[in-house]
């Protein structure tokens, strides 16, 4: 009865078919079966936000989503933000502003702020801080993250 089933989704623009069990979490499948190691896990319960991916365009925490729920969905991980083998303007801006020390949270922060800037390129500092409030950076580089996002916002204005 609890046999694996095949699901199909688009990950970073590429259609993928994976065999999953019903109780497998999306975060685990992306990391372990598709080797997308930009998806991190630290709390496993939706608090740290480091497993964030874009699911049908919106940031969500993939440790609280079953892989089967993503059947047919479009997923973007931080690997998908890159422009070819180069960092995106936003990712570069994180590097230039020292918006990371250990870098463990960077994939999640770039995905969430990429979404925010896509929706609202002129987001204020307060709005940026509010939008990243569901993610934790243990190195405490929040001020630098805000700076990086503000600097990169010019590339999202049309």
């Amino acid at each position: 009865m609890k046999m694996p089933r095949k699901i199909t989704f688009t990950v970073n623009g590429v259609k993928k078919q994976v065999e999953v069990k019903d109780n497998e979490l999306l975060a685990d499948v992306l990391r372990d079966k598709l080797q997308l190691t930009g998806v991190k896990q630290a709390c496993w319960r939706g608090e740290c936000g480091l497993c964030t991916v874009l699911l049908n365009g919106k940031p969500v925490k993939s440790c609280l989503i079953l892989a089967v729920e993503a059947n047919g969905a479009e997923i973007v991980t931080s690997e998908g933000l890159m422009e070819g083998d180069k960092l995106s303007h936003l990712q570069k801006s994180f590097v230039e502003n020292g918006a990371l020390q250990c870098g463990f949270c960077t994939p999640a922060f770039t995905l969430v702020t990429h979404y925010l800037l896509t929706q609202k390129p002129d987001a204020s500092e307060e709005e940026i801080r509010e939008y990243i409030s569901g993610l934790i950076c243990r190195c405490g580089t929040y001020n630098e993250i805000v700076k990086a996002v503000k600097q990169a916002s010019q590339y999202y204005k049309k």
Binding site: M1, N23, W44, R45, G46, L64, I65, L66, V68, G134
Partner: protein
């Protein structure tokens, strides 16, 4: 919500994704306690990770079109479907303008990323004392529509939560939507939350005021979350505000009534005395703000 050390996996179960309401209700009727409903998953999957809930069947209701809707009928009210996310409600103009207390509660409920996934109905069904969504629903006289193979019934928000993590829902029932009647004419509402070390409320309060300058017609409603195992609306306070008296006197009388009706609990978040202090402070603050003072 977390009750201890995190588990990184969840126990086995069978995932079902009905395409119609009928199919979903038949599934719940067939499996009853062995099945759990999955909407946003933020609550359920966490409880499953903690082994506090171990269903044989998980019934994903996101494939059912009727449950995805928010509909508003002028003069009647607002209906919010079971799979509507908190983000969708945050961006809903009617919610913001007419049901301000609910909108303010949603804006401070968990975080923006989780709100892309969590649902209002899910939050209510989780039935935790410190949840933010129920006190606003209480001041708006909200009702939940419960469906089963036997038909439908409306459950008043005030009767829905019967204890910590316990609801009036039968195992074969599904909450299809929440209905909020049109708020009273000329009313305004607010929500204030006090939190300490986590995102959960120690105390939250929702209030609604209409016809401030006409005491016999004046309406003031007050509801608290976090004070008692289930959020509570203090109906007895409402007649206090029908009197023609200065606000200071009304507040004093109102607080006497509140503490006669509600005896705050003590738990890991706060002592009884601390909760009383917060209730008094927040009650005065929210009413003064609505009053425009």
């Amino acid at each position: 919500m977390s009750f201890g050390a995190p588990y990184i996996s969840i126990p086995e179960f069978q995932y079902l994704k009905p395409k119609t309401l009928k199919e979903a209700l038949e599934t719940l009727s067939k499996y009853e306690d062995e099945a759990k409903v999955l909407a946003g998953g933020v609550g359920l999957l966490n409880l499953m990770k903690e082994r506090l809930v171990e269903p044989e069947y998980v019934v994903d209701i996101k494939g059912i079109p009727e449950l995805r809707k928010v509909t508003y009928e002028e003069g009647k009210g607002l209906t919010i479907g079971a799979t509507v996310t908190l983000s969708e409600l945050e961006n809903n103009e009617i919610v913001e303008r007419k049901y301000t207390a609910l909108h303010e509660a949603i804006k401070v409920l968990s975080d923006p990323v989780l709100r892309n996934r969590s649902t209002l109905v899910g939050n209510v069904c989780e039935a935790f004392a410190w949840m933010d969504s129920l006190s606003p629903l209480l001041v708006f006289d909200a009702e939940l529509k419960a469906l089963s193979v036997n038909g439908e019934r409306m459950i008043k928000a005030k009767d829905f939560i019967i204890g910590l993590a316990e609801t009036a829902l039968e195992p074969n029932e599904l909450v299809a939507s929440i209905f909020l009647p049109e708020p009273p004419k000329n009313s305004a509402s607010k929500f204030i939350k006090f939190r300490s070390r986590s995102e959960f409320s120690v105390i939250n309060v929702a209030s609604l005021l209409a016809n401030r300058d006409n005491p016999p017609e004046r309406i003031l409603r007050l509801a608290y979350g976090g004070a008692t195992p289930s959020p509570v609306r203090v109906f007895a306070v409402e007649k206090v505000f029908k009197q023609q008296k200065p606000l200071n006197e009304l507040l004093k009388e109102a607080l006497d009534v509140v503490f006669k009706e509600v005896s705050p609990m003590e738990d890991m978040h706060a002592s009884k005395e601390y909760r009383e202090h917060l209730m008094e402070t927040l009650t005065i603050k929210i009413i003064r703000e609505l009053w425009g003072e």
